[in-house]
């Protein structure tokens, strides 16, 4: 197939970026989207140009490193990660727009690479449990109802790719934060810090220049792991409960 690519080029965070046009021929429809970009980059290197910077790691849909806005949809036309998107989802002669995630919380590092350490800071604000060290507890010492275990696991499938932020008209990270709050809040191990966790994580997401949630649902629709809007309802429930319980952390 032949493709015209319009790719966001931005040499550094301080410099204003712009879309650049590239033509690519002989693209196999069995290539993944990232392989197609690899081919383009080889061509650019041979031509003596600066290759396009983009994030990727496992290329099997589980690490959450890759993430591109493809034709205006986070991770492109299929509900999966960019690495699991194949060129068969496009047609010969297509023009494809490729942009980085655009968010106040995700500053562009270069071209299509954004800095997602804001997510790490949301996690370190409360996305953990305090477990004593020592011998491992008995496997069945703390029973977890099957329904809770399933729901917690569904939330735990979040890979932190940032598509929710990218797709949200408000640039909110609520689906990400909610997935983490739900995952830990449903399990007995997550109970001691349940109140302070939600207050701190929401405060951190607000401080990172992410927007507020208006329950539009774009996030869930593009989430490669299909995290449900239910998690956001759970986060809200937990936060309001924490406020009622006056669980406002000192710092």
């Amino acid at each position: 197939m032949q493709l015209t690519l319009r790719v966001w080029r931005q040499p550094s965070p301080q410099v204003k970026g712009k879309m650049a046009n590239y033509h690519l021929t002989d693209v196999s429809e069995d290539m993944s989207f990232l392989e197609m970009l690899d081919v383009l980059n080889e061509q650019l290197i041979l031509d003596g140009e600066d290759p396009i910077a983009f994030d990727h790691d496992c290329r099997e849909g589980i690490c959450g490193s890759c993430g591109l806005m493809i034709n205006g949809i986070a991770h492109g036309p299929e509900q999966t990660t960019t690495c699991q998107l194949h060129m068969r989802s496009f047609s010969d002669g297509d023009t494809i727009d490729i942009e980085p995630w655009r968010s106040g919380g995700f500053p562009v590092v270069k071209d299509l690479v954004v800095d997602r350490s804001a997510f790490d800071r949301i996690i370190s604000a409360g996305g953990f449990i305090s477990a004593p060290t020592g011998t491992a507890p008995d496997a069945h010492a703390t029973p977890v109802p099957k329904v809770d275990a399933d729901a917690a696991f569904d939330a735990a499938t979040c890979i932190g790719c940032g598509a929710c932020v990218a797709a949200c008209p408000n640039g909110s990270a609520m689906l990400f934060t909610a997935a983490k709050v739900t995952h830990l809040g449903l399990l007995p191990q997550g109970q001691p810090e349940r109140d302070s966790r939600v207050v701190k994580m929401v405060a951190q997401q607000d401080a990172e220049d992410f927007g507020g949630c208006t329950n539009i649902g774009e996030c869930s629709a593009v989430c490669p792991k299909g995290i449900s809007m239910e998690t956001i309802s759970r986060l809200n429930h937990d936060l309001l409960g924490a406020l009622r319980a006056n669980a406002v952390p000192a710092s």
Binding site: R6, P13, M19, M69, N71, G72, I73, D97, E99, R102, S103, G104, G105, P107, V109, D115, S117, A118, R121, A125, A167, P169, N170, G171, S172, V199, K200, V202, A203, Q204, D206, A207, D209, F210, G211, G212, C213, T214, N215, I216, G217, E218, S220, A221, V222, M229, E230, I232, S233, R234, L235, N236, H237, L239, L240, G241, L243, V248, P249, S251
Partner: protein, 257 residues
């Protein structure tokens, strides 16, 4: 042995220091502001304010719509109902007390709703400093997309509506007219009726997304209820707006005169 420990300790410390130095000199300087863990700072609290005040409006709107339908019972019943609203609570409390309380509650709710809306609007603008060149909608509804500007239309409409039918200041029947007279003379003008219809349809969309969003914000939605909730929100919005639209169009087409 002790020496080895000490030296490896020193190496560890050195490594940590280097990492920290590297981090602070890196591309991302960290969050631009300190996280506010106070009660009122969080975006979710602001959303809860929107939800609770929204529920107050919805309850008021139901009562208001039912009251409006009394226009079909004729001038006397309609004007008497208007008087009854002013007498409400008498003789337990002086005349106009209950109505004044309702008005104050609504005013405070409107102020809080607008404060939260603009605060979240500002936050959303900050959250996307550079716009996408190409952005497609995957899931969003027209109602969810138009909440903010729809809200602006609604507040302008509410101001006009009070000047028109409550105070009579911009009504052709004038200030000293009776409620029924203002209603009939106002809506006989097609321009006024169309303006009301546009605002009421905007209200319908606002409520359609608002009902769903409030349930979600107050933490009472889940996967099982999602479909039913959205369906309820649509039906409720249609019924409410339909009930409101009946009056101006009935006047315009001469069913009420």
């Amino acid at each position: 042995m002790g020496l080895t420990c000490a030296s490896s300790y020193r190496v560890l410390v050195a490594t940590v220091t280097t990492q920290q130095a590297g981090q602070s000199a890196g591309a991302n300087p960290g969050p631009k502001r300190d996280p506010k863990t106070g009660r009122f700072g969080s975006s979710v609290f602001k959303k809860a304010v929107m939800a609770v005040t929204g529920i107050i409006f919805v309850l008021y709107l139901i009562a208001h719509m039912v009251g409006n339908l009394k226009a079909f019972a004729g001038a006397e019943t309609f004007n008497a109902y208007s008087e009854f609203l002013r007498d409400l609570g008498e003789p337990i409390v002086p005349r106009l007390t209950v109505l004044t309380i309702i008005r104050v509650v609504l005013l405070v709710a409107v102020a809080a709703h607008i404060w939260a809306a603009f605060s979240l609007w500002k936050q959303a603008k900050r959250a996307r400093p550079v716009a996408y060149v190409t952005k497609k909608r995957v899931q969003q509804s027209y109602a969810s997309r138009t909440m903010r500007w729809g809200g602006v239309i609604l507040i302008l409409f509410i101001i006009w509506h009070i000047l028109d039918l409550t105070l009579g200041a911009v009504n052709p029947a004038g200030r000293d007219s009776l409620p029924y007279g203002r209603l009939v003379e106002g809506f006989q003008n097609p321009v006024v009726t169309i303006w009301y219809a546009i605002a009421l349809i905007a209200l319908g969309f606002h409520i359609r997304h608002g009902v769903w969003s409030a349930t979600q914000t107050l933490g009472h939605s889940n996967k099982r209820r999602e479909r039913a909730l959205n369906l309820f929100a649509t039906v409720f919005a249609v019924v409410l707006v339909g009930g409101y639209l009946l009056i101006p169009f009935s006047v315009l087409f001469g069913i009420i005169d």
